[in-house]
Symmetry: C2
């Protein structure tokens, strides 16, 4: 069920998502979008996010808590901070992981990769050094 009409709501969700690199969840996006479209409902935010994910314009990150969304879709690794819950982008040349995995696992059909690290984000890492 991809969305076919460019509504005010949909444009606002996309803009909010493209304006941040904080990988927000639906509740945060909802609060932000309300500043532009006060009448929007949380249900619409969820429906819009689902549609954007299905269209491939947004990535859904499953962290264990609420799903977080990322409008930057070229493959790049993430770090989930085990201390504060932040999700931060990492830099790493991915050595053709998808192709290698496909070659070494005949029988399956791989369409996407997700590389995720766990640890401490810059802020929490600095704090843990200080203490």
């Amino acid at each position: 069920m991809p969305m076919r009409r460019m509504t005010r709501q949909r444009k606002a969700v996309l803009e909010v998502l493209q304006s941040t690199r904080s990988h927000p969840d639906a509740a945060w996006i909802y609060q932000e979008v309300k500043k532009k479209v006060p009448s929007i409902s949380l249900g619409t935010v969820y429906r819009t996010l689902d549609a954007l994910v299905k269209e491939g314009r947004v990535l859904a990150l499953h962290t264990g808590g609420a799903t977080r969304y990322d409008a930057f879709t070229d493959p790049h690794p993430h770090l989930f901070c085990t201390s504060c819950g932040a999700v931060v982008d990492l830099t790493l040349e991915l050595p053709h992981l998808l192709e290698k995995a496909q070659a070494q696992n005949p029988g399956v059909e791989i369409t996407g990769v997700r590389l995720t690290f766990e640890g401490l984000c810059p802020r929490c890492a600095a704090q843990s050094l200080a203490s």
Copy 2:
């Protein structure tokens, strides 16, 4: 709050988890464990799984639906089947991803890696060829 006492419940949960490679969720584990310990409650299953994860004896996999658990903890990639929801183990030599990511991202402190692929599991891939 790691568990300190080896109760009947805890032993049963661990055994069920170690007896399968299907990466089950809490509800499935609950049904299986009830065969051995009929009085166990779902809440206890969750508490036990939490404790096992914190001890590092079990891995929690966040798929978007219910959390799935894996008692095989040496790092290996997973494939999430986008068609049937199965989680299957893949084979792939991980080229020191953690070390490389740590080297290229000073400031963060990386403690774990998670490599996940999306696509079709062997069964669903075969079906899609047939049709």
